[in-house]
Structures are given as C-alpha cells and as structure tokens.
C-alpha cells in the first residue's frame, strides 16, 4: 500500500515537466508549427528560472523569468519560421543547439562553473524530502490542470478553433478573415512559455540548474504528443504512462528485472509503433510543417 502511494507520487513528480512541455507541443503543432523545439524551450526555462531565483531570492521571480525565457525563444522560432519561412525542423535544431550553448556559456559567466549553478531558492524543502513534500511545490497543481485546461481552450474557445483551423486548413482560415500568422505567433510563443514552465519546475524542484538538466525530456514530451495523437487529454495520459514506467524502474532498481536502458526506451519505441500505425494511425495536423509560399 505504502509502496503504491509512493509510486503514484513519484509518477506525478516525474510527469509534471512532461505535461507542461507536451501541452506546449500540442498547442504549437495543432497550429501547424513543428515542436522539435520543446527541449530547448525547457532548458531555457530552467536556466532563466535559476537566474531569476538567484538574483531575486524568490522562486516566483524564477518562474517569471523562466516564462520570459520560454517566450523569447518561442518568439525566435516563430519569427524564423513564420516571418522568414525558414524550415521548421532546421530552425528547431538550431534553437536547441543554441540554447545548450547559451546556458553553458552563461553558466560560466554568471556562476563560473561548467556543470551547475549554486543552490537557489526553490519550491519545497531543500534536499531529499519525503514523498509528501511533492505537494509543497505549487507548480504541481498547475501541471495537473494544464492538459484539461488546454483541452478546453482548444475545443471550446474561439482561439482554439482558430488554432485548429490554421493547423488543418490555413487557406480556408485565411479566407474567413483569420490572420494565420498572428494565430501561429501566439500559439508558438505560448508553447515556449508552457514548455519553459516544465523547465522551471525541474530547476526549482532541484533548487539549482545543472548542465543539460532537461536530458531529452522535451523529446519524450514530443513522443507523448504523437502517441496521444495531438489531443491534450490523450497526450496527458501518455505523459503519465511514460512517467509511470520511469517510476517503476526507480522502484525496482537493483532487482535486475529489466536494464534501465530498456525502460528509458519505452516512450521512443511506443512512438515508433504509433507512427507505423500498428495501434491506430497517428495522423498529424494537415498543415504541420508546411511552409506557406
């Protein structure tokens, strides 16, 4: 019983960054812009959050700075791909690389370290507190509601309708007087902010920034978007599933059931299976990645 509760808490704790980043991914991709940038947005969010918390001594200042960082790189991706019609995949590769370089460069500049920042004010007790300390982090609650909220925005609001329109049939949306680029700008910048929140959560939960601390979580979130077939609730369930597998792996560590490398592969293999259409076809938004002439 105690083990199950611990397992559930651990799953939740691991899932929160995925939920934030995947919600950003769903939003941008539903608007037709490829979200390979989630990893970079998260890392930028984590670093800016640490800077903010370090200089202002307050984790909420960190959250604010993290959001700003996410918006900034979201805007960069948006300008490159929407205004300049750069290839969305190339832009994403460049931004991910740039963020890794920038965080390392400024880690040296600000903290004179090549691996981690000093400890900063964060959420929850510092150090390895008990499982119930999970709930001392207010971002948990935001993470829990982010997918249902996004589902509501996408299916029930005017903005959501327009996001879906510009992602599926931009020409038709334009004919109806919707500014395709304006909707896409908003969606991509918001996706930067959402993914950055995932990074804020990581940094403020661990009370510091470490080099490449997102460690591929942005790509796991992208996997959840695809496995969840671009629908918020399903993507959220995929996030929880991936997190559960990781939590299980931590629980049975040392028992030698399955090598950790195989557990870490689960999200990626599931994505490949979903792409191949073996368990229901994963059909992306029609205009995803397309460059309008």
């Amino acid at each position: 019983m105690k083990l199950t509760l611990l397992l559930m808490l651990q799953t939740l704790r691991i899932a929160i960054p995925y939920l934030f980043a995947a919600s950003g991914g769903v939003l941008a991709e539903r608007a037709g812009i490829v979200s390979l940038t989630l990893e970079g947005f998260m890392l930028a969010g984590a670093f800016c959050a640490t800077l903010g918390s370090f200089y202002f001594g307050n984790p909420w200042a960190g959250v604010l700075m993290g959001l700003l960082g996410g918006c900034l790189f979201g805007a960069l991706h948006a300008v490159a791909t929407i205004r300049f019609k750069a290839d969305q995949i190339v832009s994403a590769v460049a931004i991910n690389l740039m963020v890794v370089g920038l965080t390392r460069f400024f880690l040296r500049l600000a903290f004179d370290s090549s691996s981690n920042s000093p400890r900063v004010a964060g959420f929850g007790r510092d150090g390895n507190a008990g499982a119930l300390a999970t709930f001392e982090n207010p971002l948990i609650w935001l993470g829990v509601i982010v997918m249902p909220a996004l589902a509501w925005v996408i299916t029930r609001t005017r903005f959501g309708l327009r996001v879906r329109a510009v992602g599926e049939k931009p020409e038709a949306a334009a004919t109806l007087g919707v500014s395709v680029s304006r909707i896409r700008y908003r969606a991509v910048i918001a996706s930067g902010a959402l993914a950055a929140l995932g990074g804020c959560y990581l940094a403020l939960d661990q009370h510091q920034f470490t080099d490449q601390m997102t460690a591929g979580r942005g790509f796991i979130a992208l996997a959840a978007v695809i496995v969840g077939r671009w629908m918020p609730i399903r993507a959220g369930i995929a996030c929880l599933l991936f997190a559960f597998a990781e939590a299980m792996q931590i629980q049975v560590q040392g028992a030698g059931v399955l090598p950790s490398q195989f557990v870490s592969m689960i999200p990626y293999v599931l994505t490949l299976v979903a792409l191949a259409g073996l368990v229901g076809r994963a059909v992306p938004p029609a205009a995803l990645g397309r460059v309008e002439g």
């Binding site: 490829v34 190339v90 090598p259 490398q261 490949l272 792409l275 191949a276 992306p284 460059v291």
Partner: protein, 361 residues
C-alpha cells in the same frame, strides 16, 4: 545564361555570407560580455586551428567525421527526406566496426581486416537508416520523428551493449583495442602532424565526396533520387518508384554516416567508446545545410565547422569554448532564415530581358 549563373551563385553564396556576418557580430557580443577583446579571441581561434600543424591535423580529423555525417544528411535531403538520425547511424557504424574487429583473428592482414571493418561500419549505419526508411516507404511515418526516436533507442542499446554485457574494459565504457584493423595516422607519413588525430580515413572521406557527387549528379539512381526530392508526385508519374527511392536514400545515408564511425574507431582510438559520436551527427545537419546539399559544398562546410569546434578549444583560456556551440546554432538559424529570403529577393528582381536569350523553337 550568364544572368542565371550569377543568380545561382548569389543564391548559393549570399545566405552563407549573411550567416557568417551574423555569427561574427553575435560572437563579438558574447566575447565582450565576457570582458575580452574580440580581435584577440578571433586571432587566437585562427592561430590555434590553421596556425600550426597540430591544429590543422585536429581540424582535418574533426572535418573527416563531419564530411560523412554531412553527406548522410545531404543525400537524404536531396531525396526530400530529413535524416536527423546521423548521430545514431554514426555510433552504430563505429560499434559494428569495433565488434567485427574484435572477432577477427589478431594476426589477420590489415589489407583484409580494414575493408571488412569498413563494410561492417556501413552495414551498421545502413541498418539504422533502414528502419525509418521502411517506416516512411511502407507506413508513411514521418522520417524526422522516426529518426529522432530511433536515435534515443539505438544510443540506449549501444550504452547497454557496452556497459552490461562485459564487452567493455572494466571501469571504462570502451572496448579493448582492435588490433587487426587500425588505419594509420597521418603522422606516420608526415611527421609534422605528430600528436594529432588525423588519419587515413581522410582519403575515405574524399572518396565518399567524389562518389556521392557522381552518384547524385551523374547516375540514373541519382537522377531518380533528386527527382523524388524535388517533386515526388511528378517523379511517380514519370515511373520512378518513389517509396523505393526513399528507402534507398535512407539506407545509403545511414551507410555513409556509419562509415564515418571508422574515423574514431579505426583511425583514432582504435576502440569503440560509448558516446564517441558526441554530436557530430547533429552537426551533420548544419554541414549539409551550409554546404547546400552539394557533396563539395559539404566538404567545405565540414572544414568550416571543424575549424569552429577546434577553435573553441583554442580560445578556452579567454572565453568559454561553449561560445562556438552558440555560434553553430546561429549559423544554422541564419542560413535557414536567409535561404528563402535571398531566393525571394532574387525572384523579385526584374528578370533579365528575355529577348537577349537565344530562342530556339
């Protein structure tokens, strides 16, 4: 005719020049933010790379791997496919070369052992390229997502193979040395390169450039591949089996990237080490992009990016070497942004009057 050529040159050169300019300015700002003099740092970067034989050797070594991964990405892009998987194809190639090398008897003549290991490297990379190729050709799965996901799977598998199966030397993440098939270092022929990692794989890279250029632009297969990349529907109507071309392009790209693994495994360390790929596969995307998917352009771009990454080490005393990672990202983004922009500007320019062109009816 002349107008068309100059437009083609402008289209090829302008984006790169723009990118270099943007990167230079951004680099200046980063250097200034660190309280150093830009001129001094750039000078140090040049003298640490092209200023001495060791630096040149290191640049050549790094460029060699980038030529292979750059060609791999370029071949895919010519077929209209974005291969983000060069990283794991490179790693798999290196692993297979080392694995076969360890199986071969130690007394075997290198004239036989080296080609066999090179073949193993190509097969390893080709296998990793084959999976997204099949997923694309048979199931219509987008190759970008497939190759990204496969990167994680393959790299985790290799990590498991090296750390959990007793293949590695204890306390390390590398295999024992492969005695039978080591490609000689450049220093064995030119003593000035002493200490640098540059090795005979350079010749292999030059061959790969030439063969790819011939294959892409002079062979029937290359014609079909480029036709597929330019306009798959038109290619299909012309009788080209498009899914087959997609599959072949991915397999070929994987094989080329896999062959690149031999630079580290057979030429430099003589063993496979977990993580030896170190981002060279991802940088291959930048190399292909800046080289405009032309094999000779890839060669130049590989030299450029190798200079940057070696230059990062040279300036590390003054400015963190991570500066070059930022510059790499900026160059990629600037090229990506300015290619469509330059094309638009060229198109907007009044066309050369048509009457001067020879008209044959």
């Amino acid at each position: 005719m002349r107008a068309a050529t100059s437009a083609a040159i402008e289209d090829g050169v302008l984006p790169t020049l723009t990118a270099l300019l943007v990167a230079l300015v951004a680099g200046d700002l980063l250097i200034l933010s660190y309280g150093q003099a830009p001129g001094e740092v750039w000078r140090l970067m040049m003298s640490g790379t092209w200023g001495n034989a060791y630096g040149i050797g290191q640049v050549l070594y790094k460029a060699t791997t980038l030529v292979f991964t750059g060609l791999s990405v370029a071949i895919g892009l010519r077929a209209g496919l974005f291969n983000i998987g060069a990283e794991s194809q490179l790693a798999a190639g290196g692993f297979c070369a080392a694995a076969l090398g360890l199986l071969l008897p130690t007394g075997m003549t290198p004239w036989l052992a080296i080609p066999m290991c090179l073949l193993a490297a190509m097969l390893g990379g080709a296998l990793v390229g084959f999976i997204p190729g099949v997923l694309r050709a048979r199931f219509g799965a987008h190759e970008v997502i497939a190759t990204i996901m496969l990167n994680f799977v393959v790299l985790a598998l290799l990590n498991w193979a090296i750390s959990a199966t007793g293949l590695a030397v204890p306390e390390t993440l590398h295999t024992p040395p492969v005695a039978s098939s080591s490609i000689p270092r450049l220093a064995a022929f030119f003593p000035v390169f002493h200490g640098s990692a540059a090795n005979g794989t350079i010749l292999l890279a030059l061959m790969a450039v030439t063969v790819s250029a011939w294959l892409l632009f002079r062979s029937r297969f290359g014609y079909e591949l480029r036709a597929t990349g330019l306009q798959p529907l038109a290619a299909e109507s012309a009788g080209i089996r498009v899914p087959r071309i997609w599959m072949m392009a991915m397999v070929l790209g994987g094989a080329v990237a896999g062959l690149g693994g031999s630079n580290f495994v057979l030429g430099y360390k003589n063993y496979f080490e977990d993580g030896f790929n170190g981002g060279a596969g991802f940088l291959g995307i930048a190399v292909a992009l800046v080289g405009r998917n032309n094999p000779f352009g890839v060669l130049l771009a590989a030299l450029f990016f190798a200079t940057l990454s070696q230059g990062g080490l040279a300036i590390h005393a003054l400015v963190p070497k991570q500066m070059v990672e930022v510059l790499e990202g900026i160059v990629i983004l600037a090229v990506a942004v300015s290619v469509p922009e330059v094309r638009r500007l060229l198109r907007a320019r009044p066309a050369p009057s048509a009457t001067t062109l020879p008209v044959t009816v």
